[in-house]
C-alpha cells in the first residue's frame, strides 16, 4: 500500500490512468421535496459514457479520494460527509445531525486517515477515517467556510477560505491566521501540483489571490473577476505556468504565466457563466468546464475552443480526476 501512497504524492502522475468524477445536480426545476432528476456523483466510463454512481442526491459540492485506496471517495454533501467506496457505489454517511450542507473536503496527503471538511458553520477533522470528528473552526470569527485544503507540503498545515478571507493554520486547526483576501468571501483554494508553495484562491468580487510563499500570504493577482464571482481555479498538471479560473461573467480565463496575466477563452461556450474547471492530468491542453445548467464542455487546446461533452441541463459543482487503475 505504501507505494500507492507515494504515488499519490507525486506532483504529476505520469503513468496512472484516471477517471473523471463530477458532482452534479439538475436543479432547474428542483426544490427540496420535488422530484429530482438524476443528480449526484457521476463517473465518466472507459467508453466515454457517464455513469451515475451511488444514490440520487441534490447536493454534493465536492469530493476527494483516499490516496491509499482511490476506490474510496469522500463526498461533501447536504446529508453530511459521505464515504463512497467501491468507486462511488457504496455510500455511508460518516457525520451526524450536527453538521449540514458541506462545502468542501480534503484528505490529508500526509496522513490519508485524516479528512477535513468545510461546512456551513465551520471546519471539521477526522483522524480516524471518519469514525469520529472534531470541530476546528471554533476560533474563526465567522464560521461559514467554503474551501479547505490540507497542505501536502507541511503536516498539520491547512488553508481555508470563508466569509472573511483566506486563513492558514499550522497547528491542525487549533489556531487560524488571516493569509489574504480579507473581507472577501472565498470560493475555492487550490495548491499547485508542481510546487507546493504555489497556491491560488478565488473570491466573490475580489478576483484571484495567489500565494508564492507556501500559503503564508496571498495577494491579488492579475485583473480577472474583480466585481464578479469566480467559483473555481485549476492548475494544469501538464504545464507549470498554466492556470484556469471559472466565473460568472468572466467565464473561463487562462493564464499562461502563472497568474500574472489572463486571457478570456470562451469560444464555444453558450454563456460565460462557468462554475467549475479542471485540466486533464494526462492529455496536454485538455480542459473541462461546467456551464451553469448546461452540463460539461471540453477543450483540447487549453480553452481556445470548447465543445459540448454531455450531462445536459446540469450544474457541476466540482470535478476531480481520480486514479483508477490502482487500489483494487
Amino acid at each position: 500500500m505504501r507505494w500507492l501512497f507515494l504515488f499519490a504524492m507525486l506532483p504529476a502522475p505520469l503513468s496512472a490512468q484516471f477517471s473523471l468524477y463530477v458532482c452534479m445536480t439538475v436543479t432547474r426545476e428542483y426544490v427540496v421535496g420535488a422530484k429530482l432528476p438524476p443528480s449526484g456523483l457521476f463517473l465518466k466510463g472507459a467508453d466515454g459514457r457517464w455513469q451515475h454512481a451511488g444514490y440520487n442526491h441534490p447536493f454534493i459540492f465536492s469530493l476527494d479520494y483516499d490516496p491509499s485506496d482511490p476506490s474510496i471517495l469522500y463526498l461533501a454533501a447536504g446529508n453530511g460527509l459521505i464515504r463512497a467506496s467501491e468507486h462511488g457505489e457504496k455510500w455511508k454517511i460518516l457525520t451526524g445531525s450536527d453538521v449540514t450542507e458541506l462545502r468542501d473536503v480534503s484528505v490529508d496527503r500526509n496522513a490519508p486517515g485524516t479528512i477535513y471538511f468545510a461546512h456551513s458553520h465551520g471546519i471539521r477533522v477526522s483522524r480516524d477515517r471518519g469514525a469520529t470528528w472534531e470541530e476546528i473552526g471554533t476560533t474563526l470569527h465567522r464560521k461559514f467556510t467554503e474551501a479547505v485544503r490540507a497542505d501536502r507540503r507541511q503536516a498539520g498545515a491547512l488553508v481555508a477560505g470563508g466569509e472573511e478571507g483566506i486563513f492558514r493554520s499550522e497547528d491542525s486547526g487549533r489556531s487560524w491566521h488571516i493569509a489574504g483576501a480579507a473581507g472577501f468571501q472565498v470560493t475555492r483554494v487550490e495548491q499547485s501540483p508542481h510546487d507546493g508553495c504555489e497556491w491560488a484562491a478565488t473570491t466573490q468580487g475580489g478576483g484571484v489571490f495567489a500565494s508564492h510563499d507556501c500559503a503564508k500570504t496571498f495577494e491579488n493577482t492579475g485583473r480577472i473577476g474583480v466585481g464578479a464571482t469566480l467559483y473555481d481555479v485549476a492548475f494544469d498538471p501538464m504545464d507549470v505556468k498554466r492556470i484556469a479560473v471559472a466565473g460568472w461573467g468572466p467565464g473561463i480565463a487562462i493564464s499562461e504565466d502563472g497568474g500574472k496575466t489572463w486571457q478570456s477563452r470562451n469560444t464555444g461556450l453558450p454563456v460565460p457563466e462557468v462554475v467549475s474547471v479542471i485540466f486533464d492530468p494526462v492529455v496536454r491542453g485538455r480542459v473541462y468546464s461546467s456551464v451553469r445548467d448546461d452540463g460539461l464542455y471540453v477543450s483540447n487546446d487549453a480553452g481556445r475552443n470548447w465543445s459540448k461533452q454531455g450531462l445536459d441541463g446540469s450544474v457541476i459543482n466540482r470535478m476531480k480526476f481520480v486514479p483508477s487503475d490502482v487500489g483494487k
Binding site: 427540496v32 442526491h57 449540514t100 461559514f144
Partner: protein, 589 residues
C-alpha cells in the same frame, strides 16, 4: 372525490351552528381522504387513511407497491407518509408490500433539507423506522448505518430541537402553513415512540405548539407576525393549514374545503385533542389581551456573529380584531411577515381581512445570510418556487430597513431605506374587503374592516395608489425615509367612522423624517409612544425592555427564556409543563 369533499364541506357547514365534536371533526377530515372516490389521486395519503379505517387492504397493498415501484421522490415529504403507512398497517398490508416499503429505505436516499421543519420530519421518520426495523445492519439502510446508529442520531437531534425550542423558541416560528410539519412529527412520536421519555416529550411538545397558536388565533386565523407564510394566505388569512387545525382543535372558523394532509397525518397518529385549558385559550376573546413571545431567527450562516438572533413578538387580541408585530428587520428569508391588523368576520373564506405595510426587499445578501447559496442565480433559483420574491409589488418579506414598535393596538412602522436597494419604495396592502376608506385632510387614512373594526393609518410621506390584481389597492410611496402610524379600535367604541376619525386626528402626533424617521404619538389607549429609527422605542418614557422579553408572556401562556417550563392558564385551569423533568402538572377543573 367530489362526493367526499362535498360531504366534508356539507358536514362542516351543516354542523357549524352546532359545532360538531372533536371526534366528528376528526373523522370527517380522515374520511375526506379515505373515502375519496373521484378522479384525483391522493396516493400515500389515501392509503394511510384507508388503512387507519381498516378498509380496502388489498387495494392499499397494490397501490403502495405501485407507488414505490415508480420510485420514491420528495425527500422528507416522502418519509412522513410512508412512515405513517408503516405504523397504521397493523397487519393489513401484504408481506410483499411491506417488504417493498422496507426496501425503499435502503434504495432511496432522501435529502435531509435545509430548514428546521425538514430536519424534524427527516429525523422523526428515521427514528420511527429505525425503531420498527431494529437490529438491522448498515447495508440495509440508505444511511449506511445500523438501525441503532440511525435511532441514536435521530434521538439526539430531536432532543436538541426540543431543548432549543423550549429555551430560545422556534426558528421557523408561527407559520400558518408550516405549523403542520411540526405538529405532525410530534404527533407521530407521541403515538408511536417506544421510549417512554421520547413519547412523553413529544406529547408535551404538542401542548407547546398548540399553545403557541392558541393565543394568537382569532376565529381560527393565525394572526400577527409569521416566520413563513405564502402570499395566498398572507392576504387571505383563512386560506391555509392553520384553518384546519383551528377547526379541528377548537371548532373555530372553517377548515379548508379539502383538509391539508398535514392535518390528516396528525390525526392518523396521536390525534391529540387539546386539554380544556388550551381550548379556552384558543376561544376566549371576552377580554382584550396582549401576548408576547420571543422566538429566534433561522440559522444565519453568514454576516452575523451569532447563529441565531432574537425575535420579539407582540400580539394584541380582542374579539373584534388582532394586531401583531415583530421588531422588524430580516429575521427570516423570503417569507417573513412582520406586522398586520386582522379583523374578525363571520365567515373568513375568501375574505382579505388584513392590513399591513412593508418595504419589499430582495437581495443576495439576505439569501446568503440564511442559505449556503452562491450569489449568481440565487435569486432566480428562489423565484422558481417563491414567485413574488423579486417583485416590486410584493407583500411578503422582511426588510433590514424596517423597524416596528407596538403597544396594545397601536403600531408604528418606520423605514430608512438605503438608496441602492433593489426596490426603493414601500407598499401598503389595502384589501378589497375594507368596507370604507377615507383619505382625511389631516393626513390620516380611516378605514373600516368588516363590521367590527376601525383602522387609522397615518403615512408619514405622500403616496399614490396602484391596483392589485383581483381587487384592492396598493399604497405606493417612493420616499426612502418613511413610516406609518397605525391605530385600531373596535367599531363599538365609536358611533361611526367619522367619530373615530375625529378622535384619532385629535391625538397628539409629532414626527420628523430627517436625519432618520422619528415619531412621538399619544395613542388612543393613552400611551405615549416615542420611536426613532435605530433607537430603542419608549413607551410612556420607558425604553422597551427587550432584554427581559419572555419566551411567552401574557394572561394565558407564560414561559421564561431558558426555563424549559411552560405555564398554561385560564380561569381555574392551569397546566404546567416542565421539559427538564418531563412532568405535567394540572390544577383546577
Amino acid at each position: 372525490m367530489r362526493f367526499a369533499v362535498l360531504t366534508f364541506v356539507f358536514a362542516c357547514v351543516r354542523l357549524h351552528a352546532e359545532t360538531p365534536s372533536f371526534e366528528q371533526r376528526k373523522l370527517a377530515m380522515i374520511d375526506a381522504y379515505a373515502h375519496h372516490n373521484g378522479s384525483g389521486d391522493y396516493g400515500y395519503a389515501e392509503i394511510a387513511a384507508k388503512l387507519w379505517r381498516h378498509e380496502d387492504a388489498a387495494w392499499c397493498s397494490q397501490k403502495l407497491e405501485q407507488l414505490l415501484a415508480a420510485g420514491p421522490t420528495g425527500d422528507m415529504f416522502w418519509m412522513f407518509p410512508v412512515t405513517s403507512i408503516a405504523y397504521v398497517d397493523r397487519g393489513q398490508l401484504t408481506e410483499s408490500a411491506r417488504q417493498a416499503l422496507r426496501r425503499s429505505w435502503r434504495t432511496y436516499m432522501p435529502y435531509r433539507g435545509d430548514t428546521e421543519n425538514h430536519f424534524l420530519l427527516y429525523y422523526t421518520c428515521l427514528y420511527l423506522m429505525s425503531q420498527m426495523w431494529a437490529n438491522q445492519p448498515g447495508d440495509s439502510w440508505y444511511t449506511g448505518n445500523s438501525s441503532e446508529q440511525n435511532l441514536e442520531e435521530a434521538r439526539q437531534w430531536i432532543e436538541a430541537w426540543v431543548r432549543l425550542t423550549t429555551t430560545r423558541g422556534q426558528g421557523e416560528y408561527d407559520s400558518p402553513h408550516y405549523m403542520g410539519v411540526y405538529l405532525l412529527p410530534m404527533s407521530y412520536l407521541a403515538a408511536w415512540a417506544s421510549d417512554p421519555a421520547m413519547k412523553k416529550r413529544a406529547a408535551m411538545m404538542l401542548d407547546w405548539l398548540i399553545a403557541d397558536y392558541a393565543a394568537e388565533n382569532l376565529d381560527g386565523l393565525f394572526v400577527g407576525a409569521h416566520s413563513r407564510v405564502y402570499e395566498s394566505q398572507l392576504v387571505e388569512p383563512w386560506n391555509g393549514v392553520s384553518s384546519d387545525f383551528g377547526w379541528l382543535w377548537f371548532g373555530a372558523g372553517r377548515p379548508l374545503a379539502m383538509p391539508d394532509n398535514y392535518a390528516l397525518y396528525y390525526l392518523l397518529s396521536s390525534a391529540y385533542e387539546p386539554p380544556e385549558v388550551l381550548k379556552q385559550i384558543g376561544m376566549d376573546r371576552s377580554q382584550p389581551y396582549t401576548h408576547r413571545e420571543r422566538k429566534r431567527t433561522r440559522n444565519r450562516w453568514r454576516f452575523h456573529d451569532e447563529l441565531h438572533g432574537p425575535v420579539y413578538k407582540t400580539t394584541y387580541v380582542r374579539r373584534e380584531y388582532a394586531v401583531g408585530s415583530d421588531q422588524g428587520g430580516v429575521l427570516q428569508p423570503i417569507q417573513q411577515h412582520s406586522w398586520d391588523v386582522t379583523w374578525s368576520v363571520p365567515d373568513a373564506r375568501g375574505v382579505q381581512n388584513t392590513f399591513f405595510t412593508l418595504h419589499p426587499y430582495s437581495s443576495v445578501q439576505e439569501l446568503q445570510t440564511y442559505f449556503v447559496f452562491n450569489p449568481d442565480g440565487a435569486t432566480e433559483g428562489v423565484v422558481k418556487s417563491k414567485k413574488t420574491y423579486d417583485s416590486p409589488d410584493k407583500f411578503l418579506g422582511g426588510s433590514p430597513f424596517e423597524q416596528i414598535v407596538q403597544d396594545h393596538d397601536t403600531v408604528i412602522a418606520l423605514y430608512d431605506i438605503a438608496p441602492e436597494t433593489r426596490f426603493p419604495h414601500v407598499n401598503g396592502f389595502f384589501s378589497r374587503d375594507l368596507s370604507e376608506v377615507v383619505e382625511d385632510k389631516s393626513g390620516w387614512i380611516f378605514m373600516r374592516g368588516g363590521a367590527s373594526t376601525y383602522i387609522a393609518c397615518r403615512p408619514l410621506q405622500s403616496y399614490s395608489w396602484k391596483p392589485i390584481a383581483g381587487g384592492g389597492r396598493r399604497l405606493f410611496s417612493l420616499y426612502l425615509k418613511n413610516g406609518f402610524v397605525v391605530q385600531v379600535a373596535a367599531a363599538s367604541e365609536f358611533p361611526d367612522l367619522a367619530s373615530f376619525g375625529k378622535a384619532i386626528a385629535a391625538l397628539p402626533l409629532e414626527f420628523r423624517l430627517d436625519p432618520v424617521p422619528s415619531v412621538r404619538f399619544r395613542s388612543l389607549r393613552g400611551t405615549t409612544v416615542e420611536f426613532t429609527y435605530g433607537m430603542t422605542p419608549r413607551l410612556n418614557g420607558v425604553p422597551v425592555d427587550y432584554d427581559h422579553w419572555p419566551l411567552f408572556g401574557g394572561p394565558f401562556v407564560e414561559s421564561e427564556v431558558d426555563s424549559q417550563r411552560l405555564i398554561l392558564k385560564h380561569g381555574s385551569f392551569q397546566r404546567t409543563l416542565d421539559f427538564k423533568n418531563l412532568t405535567v402538572a394540572d390544577a383546577g377543573n
